[in-house]
């Protein structure tokens, strides 16, 4: 993730989804705990957790254990949506990066 370090000045996205207010900090991110790449990594970690939950439920269901279909569908939907959101954030970040790359000098 160090390759996209230069755009970390756009601030921290870690508050996304928690607070609807304009909480994006504008401070320069120089440490490893903030910055766009780090936020995406955190998002991916969270999605990986959701996918693991969904995987466990699907495996239990396939094994004939007492698992409710609604639980499986909720877990898979959440994993799916989480992945879509993180992927969208990554796309937007890359778009911004591309715009900067294409600035004529």
């Amino acid at each position: 993730m160090s390759a996209i370090g230069p755009i970390s000045n756009f601030g921290s996205f870690t508050n996304l989804g928690k607070d609807p207010g304009p909480s994006v900090s504008r401070g320069a991110a120089t440490d490893g705990t903030s910055g766009f790449g780090n936020a995406v990594m955190k998002g991916l970690d969270s999605v990986a957790g959701m996918e693991k939950t969904a995987d466990n439920l699907v495996a239990n269901m396939a094994a004939g254990k007492n698992v409710q279909i609604s639980d499986v569908m909720a877990a898979t939907s959440k994993a799916n949506l989480g992945m879509a959101i993180v992927n969208e954030l990554r796309t937007r970040g890359l778009e911004a990066y591309q715009s900067i790359i294409n600035i004529q000098v």
């Binding site: 409710q68 609604s70 909720a74 959440k78 949506l81």
Partner: protein, 137 residues
């Protein structure tokens, strides 16, 4: 977890779980509508599911859960059937404390509630899917 971006999915999931439990209970009650016992024994009593809200520290609440399962109250009907092997000395058998018409009503309620929660689930998922495309060029 009942807050955050997937709150409504979790709440709808709890509704689906509750209503599935209710449907299963109604199935059990309907299956046992003809269950007889010898007078003096415990009669079959229809099971009633008690809904309880899941309260969380968040303002919108957290859904529903099966708070309790109660037995239907009332006296069992006595039927004169001396040839029945379950009959007592006087020739009576004891029916189930179970109301088929009421259970069929509950069946419709439970299945419609399940569908309503399914609609919430679908709408919530679609809204979130649309939200990811906001502002896309």
């Amino acid at each position: 977890m009942s807050h955050g971006p997937f709150a409504s999915i979790d709440i709808a999931r709890s509704g689906l779980g509750f209503n599935k439990y209710w449907l299963d209970t109604v199935a059990h009650n309907i299956a046992n509508v003809n269950t007889t016992t010898t007078p003096g024994q415990q009669p079959f009593r229809a099971r009633m599911v008690v809904a309880m809200p899941i309260n969380t520290d968040s303002t919108q609440g957290g859904g529903v859960y099966v708070g309790d399962v109660l037995d239907q109250a009332g006296d069992p009907p006595l039927v004169y059937d001396p040839t029945n092997p379950q009959a007592d000395q006087q020739g009576y058998v004891q029916g189930a404390v179970d109301d088929l018409a009421g259970q069929l009503g509950d069946l419709i309620l439970a299945s419609r509630s399940y569908q309503a929660n399914m609609t919430v689930f679908k709408e919530s998922r679609e809204s979130l899917q649309v939200a990811t495309t906001l502002g896309r060029g």
